[in-house]
Each structure stands twice: as C-alpha cells, then as structure tokens.
C-alpha cells in the first residue's frame, strides 16, 4: 500500500515546507543522527525496536534542554496525507513541549499511522479520545506570522520541520 500513500504524504509535506526522509526502523538511529542539528532533545518515541538511546538526541527533556536544543525529536502519532500535517499527541514525557520549543522539529511518523484526510484523522482521534489520549495538535508546516507586514516563518513554534517516515512500522 504504502509507497503511494507515502509519496503523496511527502508531496504534501513539501507543499507545507516540510522536508521528508524515509527509513526502515533498523536505520532510524543513523538517519536521526544525520538529520538533526545538535544539540538535540527528544521525548520517547514509543515505536517498536527503536530508541533514542542509540542517537545523539538527549533525553529526558528539561527546561534547559528545551532552551538550548537546536532540534526537538518526537513521535508523530498520525499523519494527514492530504495536507502533510502531523498529529502530535500530548503525554507526560513532554512530547508537546519538545515538538514546540526548539527551532527545528523532527517528527518520526510510522507509515501505518498515515490517514488520508482530516476526516479520517479525526475518526481515529475520536477513538484515541475515548481511550483517554484526548489532547493533540494538528501541526502543518513551520510556525508563521504575517503580523509584521509580510509572511515570516519561525515564530513561537519551530522554524524548520522535518518528517522521518518509518516505512516498515
């Protein structure tokens, strides 16, 4: 299935000014080391057979790390193919602030977590809400503002966003 879907997701990411790298789970650590700007801070990914322990990404997050890190690495729990959106769920380990504070966000998304459109993603989120995971953000591209008279990216949220798609998960 996935190749077409991932291609489409990657095209939408590109339209949203988000880079996309594909990898298999076994190579994720090496890919992350390649993709992130150090220093990097992360929150646990919760993906089978994958750990940030094997990378330069520092865990657990602290306020200092959030301030100093050039990159935040988190799981992206769902992707919306149509818009290249990340669905990032909040957790006690700090996925939300890690995806928010550093200048770059690297989001790791499993190919099996891609949803065609907003409707499908919200259907899935409905089940997640019922299971108690009831806080999430749909994030599409870098933070932006036109409040200073023209469009500028990189405001309170990340200036650069990078998607790493794990093709075999």
């Amino acid at each position: 299935m996935r190749t077409d879907t991932i291609d489409e997701f990657a095209a939408s990411l590109d339209g949203a000014d988000v880079a996309c790298t594909r990898t298999e789970a076994a190579d994720l650590a090496a890919v992350l080391d390649d993709v992130v700007d150090d220093p990097a801070v992360g929150a646990p990914l919760g993906i089978d057979g994958v750990s940030l322990e094997d990378t330069t990404v520092q865990t657990p997050p602290t306020p200092q790390l959030l301030s100093d890190a050039a990159t935040g690495v988190t799981r992206v729990h769902g992707g919306i193919v149509e818009y290249g959106s990340f669905v990032i769920q909040a957790d006690e380990a700090g996925t939300e602030p890690v995806s928010l504070y550093p200048r770059e966000h690297v989001g790791v998304v499993c190919a099996s977590d891609l949803h065609d459109n907003v409707h499908a993603a919200v259907d899935w989120l409905g089940d997640e809400f019922d299971a108690g995971r009831d806080t999430a953000v749909l994030a599409t591209g870098p933070s932006a503002t036109a409040d200073m008279g023209e469009l500028v990216t990189g405001v309170h949220g990340p200036q650069t966003v990078h998607a790493v798609v794990v093709t075999d998960r």
Binding site: A93, T135, T140, T145, M148, V155, H156
Partner: protein
Amino acid sequence: MSRREKAQHIRHLLDTEGDAVFENTTHVNDGRLEANATRDDIEELRTAARRIKEDAIEQLPDLVETVREQVEANGGEVYLAEDAADANQYITEVAESKDADLLAKSKSMTSEEIEVNDALEAAGVDVCETDLGEFVLQVADEAPSHLVGPAFHKSTADIATLFNTHFDTGESLDTAEDLTQFARDHVGDQIRAADVGMTGANFVFAESGTLALVTNEGNARKCAVTPDTHVAIAGVEKLIPSLDDFPPFAELIARAAGGQDIATYLSLLTPPVDSPVVDFENPHEPLDGASDDREFHLVLLDNGRTEMREDEELRETLYCIRCGACANSCANFQHVGGHAFGGETYTGGIATGWEAGVHGLDSAAEFNDLCTGCSRCVDACPVKIDIPWINTVVRDRINRGDDQEFDWLVEGLTPDADPGGVDLQKRLFGNFGTLAKLGSATAPVSNWLADWGPSRAVMERVAGVDSRRDLPAFRRETLVDWFESREPLEAAGDADREIVLYPDAYTNYVLVDRGKAAVRTLEALGADVTVAPCHESGRAPLSQGMIETARENAVRVADSLDPYLHSGRDIVVVEPSDLAAFRREYERLLDGERARRLAENSYEVMEYVYGLLDNGADADVLAAGGDVAYHSHCQQRTLDVDQYTEAVFERLGYDVVTSDVECCGMAGSFGYKSEYYELSVDVGETLAGQFEDAGVESRELVASGASCHEQLASLLPPENRHPVELIAPE
C-alpha cells in the same frame, strides 16, 4: 458624531491606515478565493458547518451542562460568567490565588470584549500579549482593527518605528523578519516567566471538555502548557457537541481567514493536560507530567449571548467563527479598516450583530452605516450568515430607538411606513421611488432646481447630500410612458416566451435608455414583452434600515406582478440590486409561497438573453463585437448571475476585461452621503484604476448597476452603458 466629524474621522483613517489595511485585507481576500478554488466541496462544508452551529445554539443550555460536568470530571473548573465584570472578577481571583505577577495571553477577541487586561493590571497582574499582532498593539496602546489581523492597519515600517522608539533594540530593526525575531524573543521570555497562561477558544467540545485553538504562531500552545495554571475564556456560543463536529471547521476556518488550506496549528486541548509544566526556574529538573499539579479554569461568557439566542434576528450572529472573511471581502472595510468599521470590540460586517448583542445598539450605531448591503460577505462567510440582513435589522432598530422632537411632523409628511425616528437623510434616500416619480413629473425643472447652488447647499446641510456628487437627472418621458406610446409589435401574441419587464425606479425615471434597450433586445430575440407599473422594490428603504417601508413596497410589487405570473410571464429585471431584493430579501418580507414564486420566475436581463440564445434564438439580430471593460454588480455576483453577461458577450464576439473589485463603492445612497463621500470615492478609485490600466483604458466601459454607472461616470470619462445597451439591435 456629527456628519462632519464622521467625515473627518474617515478622512484621517484613509490617510493614515488605509494603505496598510488595503494591502493586508485584499491579500487575504485573494487568498481565500484561491484556497477555496482548490476544493470542490466548499459549499457542502459550509452547509455542514452552518447546520452544526444552528444545532449547537439550539441546544446550548444542554451543552453548557454537559461541558460543566465533563470539565469537572477531567479535574478542571467551569465558571459561567454573566457579564464582563463577573468574568473579570473570577479571572482576577484565579490569578491572585496563584500569587501571579505575570499572565501570558494568546489572542482572544472575547478577552478584548471583557477588557480583562485592564482588570488584571488593576489587580497588580501584568499581562503579556503573545500573539505578535496583539503584542504590537499592546506596545502601541491601540485597539485591534481586525478580528484576525489585529494590526492590519500597520505597515512593516510603522511597526519598525514603533519598536525602535519603544525598545532598546541595539541595532535598528527594519524588516518583517527582524521585527518578528525581536518580538518572538521578547514575548518568549515573558511566556517562560509567566505564572498563568490564558487562551481563548475557537471551539469547545462539550462531550470531552476539549478546547480547539486555531493559530499559526504557536503562542497559544505555549501559553496553554508552559505554566501550571491555564485559564480559557470563551463565549458560550463556542460550544459544539463533540470532536466529531470539528472537521468542517478545521477545513474552513483558515481558508476563510487567510487562504491557508489548514491552519498551522489546530490544538485540541482537554485540560488539565498530561503535558508536563515547563518550569524555567528549575531548568535542570526533568519534565514529568505525572508529578505536576495542573489547574484549569474554563470561563464561559454570556454577556448578552442568551438574549441574542432568543432574538430571531440576531441569533445568527452566534454562528460566527470570527474568521474575518466578512471584513476582508468588504470594499468599505478594505479601504478604511476596523477603526472606522467597528465598535467597542468587534470589526467588519458581523460586528454589527456582535456589538448590538454584547455592547448595545449605541456601539453598533457608530459604524453600522458602513455596511452598504453589497452582500459580498454572504459568499465569504464559512457559516453562511446573512450579514447584510443583520445590518439592516440593527439599522432599523437604531432608527426606531432615536426619539426626535418633531417625529410627528416628519411622519405626517413622508409617505413611508417607518416611524418618525428615522433621520431625514435616511428617509430621503429610503423614499427614492417617490422622489424619482416627482422628479420625473416635473423634469427638467426638477433637475435645474436640484442642481441650483443654493438648493445643493440646503440639501447638504439638512439631509447630508454631498454637493460634490452629481444628482441623477430625471427624464420627463419614463420607460413606462415610452412603452405605452409605442405601436405594439406585429409579432406580439405568437411569441414563444412572454415577459414582463420590471421597471425599477432608476430604469423608469433616470436610466431610461437601458430599459428601452432591454425591451428591443428581448423582442428581437422573439419574446413578447410588456412592462409592469413602476413600484420601488424596497431596495432603497432596506438600505436605510426602513424594513416596514420595504415590506409595503414588496407587497405592492408582488401585487402588481402576480397577475403576470399567473398568466405565465417571466419577470425580467434590469437593475441587479432589485433582482437581489426579489431573490434574497423578499423571503423575509413576503409570505413564503409568494416570495418563492417571485424569486423563481425572475431573471436578470442578460441572464434571460443568455437563456434565449441558449434555446436557439438568433444571435445575429444583436449588435456584436467590440472591446469592453466590464464591471459587474456586487449583488449580481453574490447571486452568481454575472457569468451570464460575460457568456453573452463572449457569444457575440466581444473582447471583455472584467474588474475584480468587490464593490464600486457607490452602493445606492452611500456615495451621496456627505459623511461617506470621500470613502465612496476612495473605493471607486480602486475600480477606476483597473480601467485606466494600459490596454484597458481605451475600451468601452460597461456596468450592470445604476450605482456602478454613477460612480464610474463620476470618476472616468466617457459615459458608460449597461451591457444590454451594447447588444441591443439598432
């Protein structure tokens, strides 16, 4: 404000803020059109969003109870605030209970409505606005001029001057990038230091106790999760049942607001959230949401909304999702901005409903006349609110609320059905049909008299008719006179189509030639034409907020056209604003069946010509070819009727350049009023500019509306004509 003061205020804003507002609003308005064009289901989404809002407001008391139970079950508090003072007291107490020195707040119009910053600051709590537009205004100590882009009235250079003066910035800040970087860092420090975070909510899902926040900058995300205490303020109308209802809004809101397919961040927060508090005072302590003790308060604001819900006419306002599209699509707003077209808190077309509901009629009365009823916002609104109608209703109420000493005198002398409170200016324009009849009967003396210097001075002083405007010249021979004096056509009686032409007051008494051209064209295409008696459609009094007079007009028009409808004739209308009255407003003025029959059997003249040609009429009898510059009419475009004029031109081999402004700025009486004359001309010059461009300036000017004709005639030589005058056979 007197007329003179209002004119001065508008002139000042045109000079100081007009350019920045124009650039920003037209940019996002174009963005909306482009973004909507990439999907073919926008109409379905709008219909779905509308229905969800209708249902939610219908069941609002239940939703309030549901959300209260759910938020409390989640571990938060809900406070239902009766009014601004009540809300402010609660919020201030929360801040004091946390010994807060600093509160970081994301953008929220509802927080502006209650002026919570003043209340908090009076209690010794500093407030930092974290949305960069709001931050600019906080530094400048100014009010927002737009629902979504609060600083739309400021250019990059204005903001640079402000920051360089106000802050010790080291190097001079010049570019939007410099300014954003500086503000981001400055505000970022405040968020890190804040004791309480405050947000609004674009939607609240009752069943799960979830806030939906729509942002691009990421400041709301930070305000909500960084400190341990989160206060959200939302009008009660923000409640919708559940997450399941969210998708249409997720798709529509950013498109409507600024042309993004989807907002950068759609945060769905169900507080108290699991995310760890980020305590920058303990920088090396690992984040751990499990050990945090978060506090959450949802303040649901009534402040007049319950009464709005019970008010048949204002209720629709509560469906508003505050996207600002009504402002962006409004020609007047584009030119003058929300500091004129806005009340105490809200701005743009929908502001009339909000201000009347939450602050009262006086606040709405300050700016309500800036809605000319052009109806371009009707297509723009993602929840299909009839914003012009809300403006008409509120204007009517303002008229009625104004007791004047000599009411009995005025009431005895004017032929309309509205009460004496209506001011003389509105009454004059609202009775245009009667005036035109009188003017025509006494023409040309009436025209000489009207144009005579001393008369104009009196008209300006007493009725606010600007003496810089040319008055319409009434024709002694009306369209109806002309038609009756003609020999009946030989073909009459055995034509395939039978038509009754509705002669509006302009076509009958002033722009008679376009009426004659319509008759000749329709007859040449094989239709049997008769002309109805001339009765004002109600458009003129509607635009003055004189609904009872409009209702009387509508009944009289329906009475006069019913016999023709019964005998199977189609109604053809020359003036688009009158067709719009038949199709849009009559359902509110006449009983349902009558209004439906009239609307369904009425056609704009070029729409009808298109239909005849499409059904095999001989196009060769019409005048073909030529280079034209065409301005369709605002209400005509809202009805999607303009396409037929363009299609007929194309069929007949004309080369057409069309304007893309939302409105010509004349808008019936608007451009005649001395307090609005300069704004009207400013709006008109944008249109005129498009027709003065290279390659366009030598084309024949064509306009569908009487107002558009007058505006173009005053700004551009030579004379312009109605499309049907071009194609009419000699």
